[in-house]
Assembly symmetry: C2
Homo-oligomer: 239 residues x 2
């Protein structure tokens, strides 16, 4: 890609991997606040064998980056993400015994049959209380959480964690779980109502106290503005 350097001296010096930080929400009946959870995979190979790590794998030669992320995501959870975005390329020389550049994606998953991991080597963890992970994966998750919290402030990304129909309290719960603090229900209602991202239905959720109106996400507005990035068909279209 340049005229100042020759091709790599020895082929295969640097390998490219793709990993994905997959966020979902668990509504813990015990706690009063929902918590952000993510699936991890137990390593069965040499570097950090036995340790928990982010789902991922080597990039295939003919495989797009985003496809690789979706693939490992499906292999781990059996689900398709409601949001998928590149997070960062981690390539520190000493992050692995051999030189590996990891293109890391982060994804949102709507609530579903979450607590049914595909295998014994997959488990869901609370994002706030992770054990020490393989490689620099603790650090990667920290950064992904930072991005998630940032993005929730200026985009509609929280909808990516909710099912088709939801109440305003549901949506507020998502914000509170991600931001880690309580929000004023009254002000929250107005903000989100005036944002144009919600379509109110005539259905209500009953069962406790006053029934709450159900809303639907307005698919005309993107979950997040990404600028002039490669506009491959996003998994987002599934939302």
């Amino acid at each position: 890609m340049t005229q100042t350097h020759a091709a790599p001296t020895a082929a295969g010096d640097i390998r490219v991997a793709v990993s994905t930080v997959i966020f979902s929400l668990r509504r813990d009946p015990g706690s009063d606040r929902a918590s952000v959870v993510l699936p991890l995979v137990r390593r069965t190979r040499d570097p950090h064998e036995g340790a928990w790590a982010l789902p991922g794998g080597w990039l295939d030669t003919a495989e797009e980056l985003e496809t690789a992320a979706s693939r490992t995501l499906a292999e781990t959870t059996g689900l398709a993400p409601s949001y998928l975005e590149q997070l960062y390329a981690f390539g520190d020389v000493h992050r692995s015994p051999t030189r590996v550049v990891s293109i890391v994606y982060w994804a949102l998953l709507r609530e579903g049959p979450l607590l049914a991991p595909a295998s014994e080597n997959v488990a869901w963890f609370d994002a706030a209380t992770l054990p020490p992970l393989a490689f620099d994966h603790n650090h990667i998750v920290d950064y992904a959480l930072w991005r998630l919290r940032n993005k929730v402030g200026y985009s509609r990304i929280a909808h990516g964690l909710l099912p088709e129909l939801f109440t305003l309290a549901d949506l507020r719960e998502v914000y509170e779980a991600i931001l880690g603090r309580d929000l004023d229900p009254a002000n929250f209602r107005r903000q989100v109502e005036n944002s144009g991202t919600l379509i109110s239905t005539e259905q209500f959720r009953t069962g406790s106290h006053r029934p709450a109106r159900l809303y639907r996400y307005n698919h005309d507005v993107e979950l997040a503005e990404r600028g002039p990035l490669p506009t491959e068909p996003h998994p987002e279209v599934l939302s």
Copy 2:
């Protein structure tokens, strides 16, 4: 990095390059607005030979990503950046005849001896009117410009394009060049004065009409918040 996939079938299938979008400002005496400029390198090798391309090169096995970006930046301009940040990892299968994943950085350069390119094969271009570039580099520059414009709105990054001492009009010019629209001098002054990022000096710039007070950048505040990213020594410390 996973237990589900073996190591790459053939070593060297995928190569890793690092490129950098280097922004600076040119104060065109003809135009009434400064313009964003960037250096490009003419390719002397096979894919897209003769076309202009972003400065970059193959990643060395023992070289950090950010170091590689700084290196090609210095090779191209002879200067050290006042800001350097990873932009995105571009890895589309068909972006190059052979599979190349490019980790792209973007940088800001203070005004200096800009119009003295190191070689015949380096030239500065107006970012708004680029010729067709090699590979997907037009697309990459578009995305970098989008990030620059975004970031100028919520961070103090514009200071990275100015020398140590500057007037408020200088700073406003930077914002206007990046945003592409005029700003109210009165309101701009108050906004930036209340932001806590400026230290006013007792020096003034004379030469035309009423002298303007010179300001200094407050190094206590970061040019931009980057979250919990690898905190290697930033080039930013040079600012």
